[in-house]
């Protein structure tokens, strides 16, 4: 069971959170203009990264805020958490992989 550093509440137990999948998947600005493949990619396709993964969590039993986490999918180490809308921290992702 992880300890997840909520950017607002500090470190809290995983059971207070819900998982939201890959982070930084932008909803197309003009969905009507997206062709079928582009739209399907947005709706259905996500990376399955071995290494540091940028992912979304929501502190559903706490402050109810969505935020992003950089987590290593092998060691489960959490390298950073940051607010929704913020740029990911400058991590050397290659060397972590």
């Amino acid at each position: 069971m992880l300890v997840i550093p909520c950017p607002h509440c500090g470190p809290r137990c995983e059971i207070e959170f819900s998982y939201g999948g890959q982070a930084h998947i932008a909803r197309p600005q003009d969905p009507a203009a997206a062709d079928d493949a582009t739209w399907a990619d947005y709706v259905f396709m996500r990376d399955n990264t071995k290494g540091v993964f940028l992912e979304r969590w929501v502190h559903s039993h706490g402050c109810r805020q969505w935020f992003n986490v950089a987590r290593h999918t092998v060691t489960y180490e959490i390298l950073a958490s940051y607010e929704t809308g913020a740029a990911p921290p400058n991590l050397d992702l290659e060397s972590q992989a």
Partner: protein
Amino acid sequence: MIEKYLRQSPLAHMGLGARSGDDTAKAEVRLAERPFFGFVNLRGPGADPAFLGAFKAASGYALPTEAGTSGGGGNTTALWLGPKEWAILDTRGDPDAGPRMADELRTALADFRVAVTDVSESRACIRISGPKARATLQKGCPLDLHPQAFRPGHCAHTRLAKATALIHLNGNDSAPEEAIFDVYTVRSFGEYVWLWLEDAGREYGVTARLS
């Protein structure tokens, strides 16, 4: 409004008066429902000094902006729920406090992007105290409730067993008497949380009081 006696607190149907439980003197966990209170959910731009100033001007005290803290003055207490969310409480037992508080806040904060919502009726409040109050809560709460980690005046929105709960430790740091926790849950989770606390505290002895 209708007569107060016709209004039912969230746990009124449980007959708490008859659930005396263990010998009061020996019981190390004391449970009570706090039946009527004002609970207003306030949303607003927590980083905006003008908003914070307007709240302070209206309420006489500052909104807490640090995670897990509370502030208060006069008849109300503000609990930090999130960076843009607070619970404003009036726990004097007035069943109509919520709508009144909501109206006052709405007027005072009309210039800001806020939401003021009276949720008094949608919360149950269980007060738990006694030497084993912490140990009982700790069974179902993942937070560290050690006196050094969770101090008087602290509050946290967290999990309690299978419910979501807002836990508020009464008092302030300068007078940390015996721990008295107020546990707020969604109204319809109140019975579950009460039964759970009663069961969790059973090995320490539990006594139930009306309030």
